[in-house]
Each structure stands twice: as C-alpha cells, then as structure tokens.
C-alpha cells in the first residue's frame, strides 16, 4: 500500500536538522584537504535559510552532509532525529526520496522523461501515493510552478528557467518537509532566478523548511536567515560581510570579542566631538550619519545599512568624533561593538584589513569635506530633525 503522508519527526517542534561537530576531510594525491572544520549548525522547521560563501568555501560539502549525499569524516548529522549515516547507501536513497526534495544547479531532470514523468518518478521510487493519484498530483505541482502547458515536453524542449521550475516541482512531489537547493539560480537569468526565489518564499510560507546554497549574497534578501561559511567554518555573517579580508581564524576569534548592542529607532549611538571607545558593525537596521551645524542646523550626510561599519575614523586617526551617528528613525538597530583595544589588536593582526579600512577612512573624510563645503554653500537638501 502506497504511503501518502510523509512526516519527519521534528525534535520537540524545534530543530529539524542538527549538525554537530561535523568534520569532512578529502584525501587525494596532493594530500589531505579539510573542507568542513567542526561545523555546529541547526535548522528549524519552516525556516528559509541561505547558506552563502565563496566558491570553494565548503557550502556544497555542508549541504552534502545533511542530504546524505556524502559521509562526514567525524561528527553527527541528525535529520528529524534520525542518524542518516546509520543507514546503508541504498536505504538512505529511499529515505532521501521521502524526506528531502533536492534542487540542483543544473536542474538534473532526466532527459528521456517528459516534465510530468520527471515529477512522477520520485513517487514511483518511494512508493508514495496511489498509482492512479500520481499523474494528478504531478500535474498540480506543474500547475503550481506554471508549467501545466509544458507537461508533455521533454526537459530540453523548454527553457532553463522552466527546467528549474520543473525540478522544484519534482522536489515537491513526495511532499518532503525539507527542500534543499544547491545554487538553484546559478544557471538562470535574473528574471528566472527571481521567479525561483519567489517559489521558495511561497513554499516557506506554507511551512516547508528550505535550505538554499548560493554564492550570490543578493539572494539572501528574501531568506529568513543566512549562514555564512568560509574555509569550512561557520562565521558571524556581519563580521564576514563587513571585514571580508580577515582570515578565517581571525573572523572566528573576532566573533568571541564583539558585543551585540541594540538601539531604538532615532537613538543616538555616537555624539559629535566626543571621544569614541568602540568600533561598530551593523547587524540589522540602518544608521544616519549626521553633521552637526551651528545651533540646531543638523544634516544627514549619509545612511549606513546592514554589514556597514562606523567609528573607524576616530579609532584609527585619534581625536573626537567628527559626526553624530543615530539609529534610523523608522527601525531599531543592532550592532556588533568592538573595544578600542581589540580594534587595535585586529588592525595589527590583519594589515590587509587595516589598509582596506584606511582607504575607507580616506574616502569618508573626503566625503565629509565635500559635505562641509556643500553645507557652507547651503546645498544640503535634507535637514535632520533636532534632537
């Protein structure tokens, strides 16, 4: 009798995927290479997570760990409370067919089957749904991804965007609670990519857990969470994005030194002409940089957003703050703060980062000068509200 209701045991309604201390080492003629270095990670039910990282950072290897595609060298992977590496490869295939829907970068539809048959194939493999029910269900899924008209065509007779939509329909065919996508938009034009992300967002809103690997940070805008992986370790996303030139070890060390601070909308973070004790990196929200005029004539010269940093000019050049920094009026701000001593240590430890921040300091000072000039000439269009 065909099964019709797949359901993964969610561990107390919390973590659906648990990755504990996973290390993956590859051996080849050139020696050993560690792709994952003790990863701890979990995904909750209903999350839409983007795993991002540069090429070769280990993101696909990480994905292979919890899809059961590859073995970890050490560590444990639990999906729905099941230790997937306790099963044989063959049983794992069946398990995967029932519990995971996988979407590949190159779509990977079987070329000899039409789109409808491709969508039905996983149901046949895992024996899910009654035989007569399968075509109907596959057609519904194709309808959902907008391919009803193309159902009888072979994959190569449709566009790449349509192939990826069909691949998503296939991933959904066994109603697996988890959808895993490896660079699903990597091979698509921007319009098709946007359509695919829309589809994922909709699925996520219906309760599917979606884990998407991508090297394109712009794809993270629609996700509920982003995991950044670099050289085989999970790093703080803000640090990785704000200071990309840091080595993996420094990023990891820095993660332990920063302090997360929250500010209400409109709350002042730095006052002009006061000494600054910290370096700030924006985790969420935005801040306004305000030039203090005479009297109450304050002007916003720029706005900084997620993964931007501030406070570096004063820490590097010494002296008092040259502008005020305030949480944007419409949203609360969360920042990571690093003490003056730790900042000095960081600059010493990473000359590349120091140079890069130095350049930004130069650029910002230049911008300030121009702003000052414009201010004098009364060219500013927008006045900041008086505190």
């Amino acid at each position: 009798m065909a099964r019709t209701q797949p359901k993964l045991a969610s561990v107390d309604g919390s973590n659906l995927i648990e990755i504990e201390q996973v290390v993956k080492t590859f051996s080849n003629a050139a020696g050993e290479f560690t792709a994952l270095r003790g990863i701890d990670l979990s995904f909750e039910e209903g999350e839409f997570v983007a795993v991002i990282g540069k090429s070769g950072s280990g993101k696909s290897t990480l994905l292979n760990m919890f899809t059961g595609i590859d073995h970890p060298t050490s560590g444990k992977v639990l999906v729905g409370g099941v230790d997937i590496y306790a099963m044989s490869e063959s049983k794992r295939s069946l398990w995967r067919g029932r519990n995971l829907g996988i979407v590949f970068q190159f779509f990977q539809l079987l070329p000899m089957l039409n789109l409808l048959e491709n969508v039905m194939l996983p149901m046949d493999y895992v024996g899910m749904y009654e035989v007569n029910e399968r075509p109907k269900r596959a057609m519904e899924l194709l309808h959902m991804v907008g391919l009803e008209e193309q159902a009888q065509k072979l994959p190569r007779a449709v566009s790449t965007g349509q192939q990826q939509s069909a691949a998503i329909a296939r991933a959904l065919s066994t109603d697996a609670p988890i959808i895993v996508a490896d660079e699903p938009t990597g091979n698509l034009d921007s319009r098709s990519a946007s359509h695919i992300i829309d589809l994922f967002a909709e699925l996520s809103s219906r309760g599917k857990t979606i884990v998407m690997v991508t090297h394109d940070p712009s794809m993270t805008k629609r996700t509920s969470r982003t995991v950044v992986i670099s050289d085989g370790v999970i790093v703080n996303e803000t640090i990785a994005q704000a200071l990309p030139l840091l080595s993996q070890s420094l990023m990891k060390e820095l993660s332990n030194k920063v302090e997360k601070i929250g500010f209400q909308p409109g709350e002042t973070i730095i006052r002009s002409k006061e000494s600054i004790p910290k370096f700030f990196m924006i985790v969420s929200g935005a801040v306004d940089i305000i030039l203090q005029g005479r009297g109450k004539d304050n002007l916003i010269i720029s706005q900084l957003g997620m993964n931007d940093f501030f406070g570096e000019i004063e820490l590097m050049r010494g002296g008092k703050s040259i502008a005020s920094v305030r949480a944007a009026a419409d949203t609360p701000v969360e920042v990571l703060a690093l003490s003056r001593e730790d900042f000095s240590w960081l600059m010493e430890a990473s000359p590349l980062t120091e140079k890069s921040i130095g350049n930004i300091v130069q650029k910002r000072l230049e911008e300030k000068k121009q702003a000052d000039r414009r201010k004098r000439k009364g060219l500013f269009g927008r006045k900041a509200k008086t505190e």
Binding site: S90, Y125, L154
Partner: protein, 810 residues
C-alpha cells in the same frame, strides 16, 4: 616520451576494462579467422601430401576370387604400374572378455614387406603380423578398448569363436577413404587365412597406373580396358573405385566444411568489428573534452587523428599478441581433429604463414576500419563543441529560444506513452526510463542488435540444420527399413529361409533380395561409373524412397530401374523414360529409367530393380543370398539383439551365414560424420553468440558510464540499489529480446542457406529444410542469460556509484 604519446599510453592503461573489452573483441575475430585459415591451409596441404605419401591405389576392383597367377596378368597389363591382390572379408570381433561384437573388414596382404600400394603407417606395436596375429586400423580403437598385446575373439562362419593376438596398430589412409560407410579395417597375412576358415585366394585388386595418376579420364580408360580383360577371363567384377593420387577422396567434402567454417569466421570478424566501432565511438565521446583542450592549446586535426590512430593500432597489436599464438595452436588442433576423423596424418606442427599474415592484417585493419569514422569525426570536432560536450547524437534540433526540439523518435515515444495512458495502460516511470534508454543511442543499439541478432540467427540455424541433416539421414533410413539384414555365402530358397526365420515368434516378415552390379556407360561406350542395383520384391514395404521424379519399381519391370540422384553428375539432363547404357556382367544393355530418388551422393550411385526380374536374370529365381527380416520391435538395441540371435540361429541350423547386420547400423558412420560437422558449427555459433553478448556487455557498460550523472540523480530522488540494477538489467534484457525477435526471422534465410551449403557438401544434393523449436528455445534461454550476464556487472557498478562521485562528473 612526448606528452601526446604519454596520453595515448595512459588512454590504453587507465581504463583497463575498456581496453580489455576492445582487445578481446578484436582477438576473438582474429582467433577465429586464424584457426580456420590455418586449419584450411594445413589440411589442404597435408591431406593430399599425406594421402599421396601412402601411394594410394588409383584403381580398386572388388571381384570374384582369383589367384597369384591371375594377379600377374593384371600386373603385366598395359598402363598398370603396381598391383597388389588382397583378400577382404567381413568378420565380427570383440576384446577377450567383452560381450559386444563389432564388425570389421579383414584385409589379407600378400606380403607386408613388399607392400607398395595403400601403404600402412605404423602407429604402435609391430608393423608386420606373424601367423595368427592381427594388426588393427586406428579406427577400431574408437570402437573398442584394445591395445597391442591384447587378445581378440573372432567369430567364424560356423559360429565357432577363436582368439587372435593383436600385434600392432596401423593407420591406413587410403583403403577406407573411398567408402564413407565402410566398417573399420584390420590386417592379417595369408598364413592366418586358415584361422578364419578362408581360402588362400584374393578378391580385391589395388593398382596404380603408370602415367596420369592425377588424371581421372586416363585412369578410367585404363580401368575400362582392365575390366574388359578380367571379364574376358571369366571373372565377375562387383564394384570398382577410381582415385587420384594427390587428391583425398573426401577432399571436396572437407573443403566444403572448412568453407562453411570460414564463412562463420568472417562473420565473427565482421561482428567483432561492429563491437569495436561501438566501443571506439563511445571512447571518442568520452574523450571529447580532452580533444577540445588539445585543440585549444594548438593541437591540429592531423595530430589528434594520428594520436587516436596510434591508439587503434595499439589495440590491434595487443589483440594480436593474444590471438596469434592461440590461433596457431587452435588451427593445428582443429586440423589434427579433422585429420584424425578422416584418417590421415598431418606433417607436424607449424606456423602457417598465410594464416599468420591474415591474422596480422585482420588484427590491424579491423580496428582501423571500424574506428576510422569515429576517429575522423572526433578529430574534426570544433573546440566549442568539444569543450561543451555538445555532440550527443540524441539531441534534437536547436530552437531559436535555446530549447531543442524533440526528435521524431522521442515524439513517437511520448505520443505512444500518452495513447497507452489514455487507454488506462500506465507504464511506471522506472520501466519507462529503461524502455526509452534502450533507444537513446540508436547507432550503438543498431550495432549491438546487429551482432546479437546475427549470433542468434546463426545459433538457431545451426540447430535447424542439425535436425534437417539428421532427419535426412533418418529418411535415408527408409531405404533400410528391415531390422536385420542376413547375408549368406550361398543362395538359399526363399521359402526355406522364411520358414526357418518364422520359427522365431519375434520375426514378423522375411524378404529375399537380389543384387546386381553394373557399369554406367557414357554414350561413346566408355565406363562412367558403377551402379549397385538392389532388387527387393516389387511389392516390398521395406523401402520408402524419397522420389525426386518418376515412379518406384513395379512388378513386371524388365530392364527398368529407378536410380539415385547421383546419376545427374554423369547425365545432367537425364529424364524419366530415358534409356541408360549399362554394362551388366560384360553385356552392354539399355535400361529405362523409370524414376529418380534421393540418396547420400558420396555413397556412389544406387539403383533399384524388382527382385522378380533380377533373380530370373541371374538364374536365382526364388532363391537369394541376402534376406531382409522385420521384427516386432525396431529400435537399435532390439535390432542388434535380433541380428545376433538370427546369426546364431541360422548358423546352428547349418546355414552358411556370412553376416547378420542390424538395419540402422548402416547409418552409423553417416550420423557420426554429421555429428562432427554439427559440433563444429555449434562451436562457431557459440562463438558468434559470445561475440554478440560481448557487444551487449560493452554497450551496457558504455551506457551506464554515460548515464552516471542520471543514475546519481535517481539516487538523489529516492532510487534504491534494486531500482538502479533493475533499470540496467531491463534495458539489457530488452535489447536481448529485440535481438531474439529479429533473430527469429533472420534464422529463416540463414537456415536455408546453411542447410543448402552443408547438404550439398555432404549429400551432394539439396535437402528439405526442417525447423525445430529447440534452437529457438535454447537461444531464447541463452540470450536472456547472456543479456542478464552482460548487464549484471554494469548494473552493479551503477548501483555502487555514490551520488557524490556521480555529481563530480559535472
């Protein structure tokens, strides 16, 4: 080594399975052709040399008893070089202590030391038998377990049993060669004749001619003149044989058989070359990226073509290393086997230069020819295509939007599936994958089907031909329907023999037959050949002839006969109602041909006339030397028992029994020779089947290799090991089944063709073809087994692939 040659070298050794497959498929063809070409050459060289080395007689006369004086008359006859007289008689022997009797022809030589014609070649033991000793021809050893030094029991006419010492074993390539159905031979000296109760007289002449020993016309002229002379001297001549010195009497038959084997050998080469073409085009497809990179860094078409040409030659050289030594050994083994069966000696093991060169040519040319098109196409591919790997012939045409249109075949498949689904027949997708995979690489499928179908059709045909031949021999048995043939030394009255025979309740019918020999003359009066005229009672039911034209004999026929098809060799335009010039007992007569029937051509020409006429003509009315007895049961064992019982019974009652033979024994030698031929054909058929299944195995591994990524995808979406293995097995089986269905049809012309060639070679006449379900049944089982075996390994390796490995193919 320059990098490009290092690449060729690593292409050879990196994928050992593929290299082995290609090398073996070339080697099978080279081996087969080497064996057959070598054996052909060895046999055609050695058979005539070995035959001629024993100074075979050009003339053999089977005649009334004569003495030494008359032999001198023959020796002095004009045109005769050497002549030896011998006494030949049939007797039954068995090793001491055994119960089973076997019939042998005993040949008495005047003087072993002065033996000049039909020389005996020593095999083991003594070469000259002393008084009361016997030499056995090698063939006897096949019938019984006996060696020099052992003792034989012989049964004499008066039923008494005596013993004789076996002095040695010899080989006589000449004496038995002319008679396809003759029993094995044994030799004694004249001193021993007394032991057998035989007179010291001779009944055969073996003579050579002075000139024109290889000129049949000349020999015939000498023979005709000699016969006249002998008959004028009052001696009757039963049968005569002519042979050329340098031509084995069965040479044309053996050559015909080897010819058939050669055709099959060429077929195997042909099949293996399609296998090679298949493998090489897959190899080139796999190497497309390499070719692209080589071109990108400056490799020209010519360089790449040369590299792959060297690879092809390397495959050829490797296969030659295997096939040439094996082929040489195989050729000699096959020649030795045939020589043993045909009773001649080979001149010794040697490498046959012709076969050696043929093998080298085939081994080098076949991969070059088979691989030429794939290599040329591969080396001409553009860099862009090579790098993108976009050369798969399964792609349809490109549309403007980037998508490709479905091919006609794909459209047909999709439509067919939809129509079936509309009618409620839903093929599950995993099965659909196997079905459609089968037709994806159509070029490859065609070549695989070609090899497997040819193998299957040959296999089935061999079985059909086997039954056809045996059925024909069984039909020939319709000329020998009596269960026991009882021959006497003197004629007895029909009623007397019938009365005695009927005493045994197991005997149901007795007939007396007469016999006459005659010469068939050409219109100019010269002798063309002998005809043995058998004369059963006109109403006899013991002959059930296969008439070609005309009618069977009737009571009242006088100087009328029905004659076997062999007459067409002498009179190709002979028709029923024509008169045939015959010389009967020295008298030229004209006999009307009333019918023509089928018989084994190489047994000479046979005629039938009614007993009523022949016995009267011979003054033997109501008497006969030879009787046919019908018993209650007709199986071989019963016939043998009855022959022995009749023999003993008549001897006990004082009759001079010459021989009692079981009816079916006449066909033993014919059946045995057929079995040898059939086993050769079967071996060749199996070889073609093996080549076919190697083709399938190659195709399946190439398919699996090319579809590795797809298998990974199936794994990723839930396919278990069983699913993957089933998918590959179903595809292999499907190819097997398609080839079986095609083979069913192809086997029809194959059966007709093969049976025509074989029957013309063996029986000198085309025979009615019979189809047997056995070949089809065995091949169906075999093709399923072979397809499964050919797919199991690729299927298992497919199931073993982990998805990560598979996705790494990207």
């Amino acid at each position: 080594m320059r990098p490009r040659w290092r690449k060729v070298f690593s292409d050879l050794i990196d994928n050992k399975a593929r290299t082995t497959l290609v090398v073996l498929s070339i080697a099978v063809g080279v081996f087969a052709i080497g064996v057959i070409a070598g054996a052909y050459r060895i046999i055609s060289d050695d058979m005539s040399v070995s035959y001629a080395a024993n100074n075979p007689s050009n003339i053999e006369l089977r005649m009334d008893d004569f003495d030494e004086d008359f032999l001198n008359t023959i020796r002095n006859f004009d045109g005769i070089k050497e002549a030896e007289a011998r006494r030949v008689f049939n007797i039954r022997i068995r090793p001491l202590g055994e119960t089973q009797w076997d019939s042998v022809d005993i040949i008495t030589l005047q003087d072993f030391e002065a033996n000049e014609v039909n020389l005996l070649v020593p095999v083991s033991g003594a070469t000259i038998p002393q008084k009361n000793e016997i030499l056995l021809e090698r063939d006897v050893l096949e019938k019984m377990d006996i060696a020099p030094g052992d003792t034989l029991e012989v049964q004499l006419r008066d039923n008494s049993i005596k013993t004789i010492y076996v002095a040695g074993v010899v080989q006589d390539s000449s004496t038995g060669a002319v008679d396809f159905l003759a029993p094995p031979l044994a030799y004694i000296s004249t001193d021993t004749l007394k032991l057998f109760d035989q007179p010291e007289l001779y009944n055969r002449v073996f003579a050579t001619v002075e000139t024109g020993q290889d000129d049949d016309n000349h020999i015939n002229i000498v023979l005709s003149a000699l016969k006249d002379k002998i008959e004028k001297n009052g001696y009757g001549i039963g049968r005569t044989f002519r042979s050329l010195t340098h031509q084995h009497p069965l040479e044309s038959t053996i050559n015909a058989v080897l010819g058939i084997l050669m055709v099959l050998g060429v077929l195997i080469v042909f099949l293996s070359s399609s296998l090679i073409a298949n493998t090489l085009s897959a190899l080139l497809t796999q190497h497309l990226r390499h070719i692209g990179v080589m071109k990108l860094i400056g490799g020209r078409d010519k360089i790449i073509f040369r590299m792959y040409l060297v690879l092809l030659v390397s495959f050829g050289v490797l296969s030659l290393l295997i096939a040439v030594p094996l082929g040489g050994q195989g050729a000699y083994a096959l020649a030795q086997f045939i020589a043993n069966k045909m009773g001649f000696l080979l001149l010794g093991y040697r490498i046959v230069p012709l076969s050696f060169f043929i093998q080298i040519a085939v081994g080098l040319l076949v991969p070059l020819i088979a691989g030429f098109v794939p290599v040329v196409n591969g080396s001409r591919v553009t860099v862009q295509k090579a790098i993108s790997g976009d050369t798969a012939d399964e792609s349809g045409e490109q549309d403007e939007g980037g998508a490709k249109r479905e091919s006609r075949m794909e459209k047909f498949q999709l439509t067919a599936t939809r129509i079936l689904a509309d009618r409620g027949i839903r093929i599950q997708r995993p099965l659909l994958v196997s079905l459609r995979n089968t037709f994806r690489r159509r070029g490859r499928l065609m070549l695989t089907l070609f090899t497997l179908t040819m193998g299957g059709a040959t296999f089935i045909s061999v079985f059909n031909v086997r039954v056809t031949l045996h059925e024909y021999v069984k039909d020939i048995g319709n000329y020998f329907l009596a269960d026991v043939t009882l021959d006497f030394d003197t004629p007895y009255r029909l009623s007397e023999i019938e009365q005695f025979a009927r005493q045994d309740p197991r005997v149901t019918h007795v007939e007396g037959w007469a016999f006459s020999g005659a010469d068939i003359l050409y219109p100019d009066g010269s002798t063309a050949d002998n005809v043995s005229i058998l004369a059963p009672p006109a109403a006899s039911d013991l002959v059930n002839p296969l008439m070609v034209t005309g009618r069977w004999i009737q009571e009242g026929d006088e100087k009328k006969l029905t004659i076997s098809e062999g007459i067409y060799d002498l009179y190709p335009d002979l028709e029923v109602g024509d008169y045939l010039p015959l010389k009967v007992y020295g008298k030229e007569e004209s006999w009307e041909v009333v019918g023509i029937f089928k018989f084994i051509g190489m047994e000479g020409i046979l005629g039938y006339a009614p007993y009523e006429y022949i016995s009267r003509d011979q003054n033997l009315a109501n008497r006969s030397f030879s009787y046919r007895i019908v018993t209650e049961q007709h199986d071989r064992a019963y016939q043998e028992m009855m022959a022995e019982d009749m023999d003993a019974y008549f001897r006990d009652n004082g009759f001079h029994v010459q021989e009692a033979t079981p009816g079916l024994s006449t066909l033993d030698s014919a059946s045995e020779s057929l079995d040898i031929l059939i086993s050769f054909l079967l071996i060749m058929a199996l070889l073609t089947a093996v080549v076919g299944s190697m083709g399938l195995a190659g195709t399946m591994s190439m398919n699996v290799l090319e579809r590795t990524r797809e298998i990974g995808i199936m794994r990723a979406i839930g396919a278990t090991d069983t699913r993957i293995i089933t998918m590959v097995l179903v595809e292999g089986l499907l190819i097997g089944i398609i080839s079986f269905v095609l083979g069913l049809f192809l086997a029809i012309p194959f059966t007709y063709g093969l049976s025509w060639i074989v029957s013309t070679a063996i029986f000198e006449t085309p025979i009615a073809v019979i189809f047997t379900p056995m070949g089809y049944g065995i091949w169906a089982g075999l093709v399923i087994l072979l397809s499964t075996l050919a797919s199991v390994l690729p299927a298992r390796s497919a199931a073993r692939l982990t998805i990560r490995e598979v996705l790494a193919y990207e």
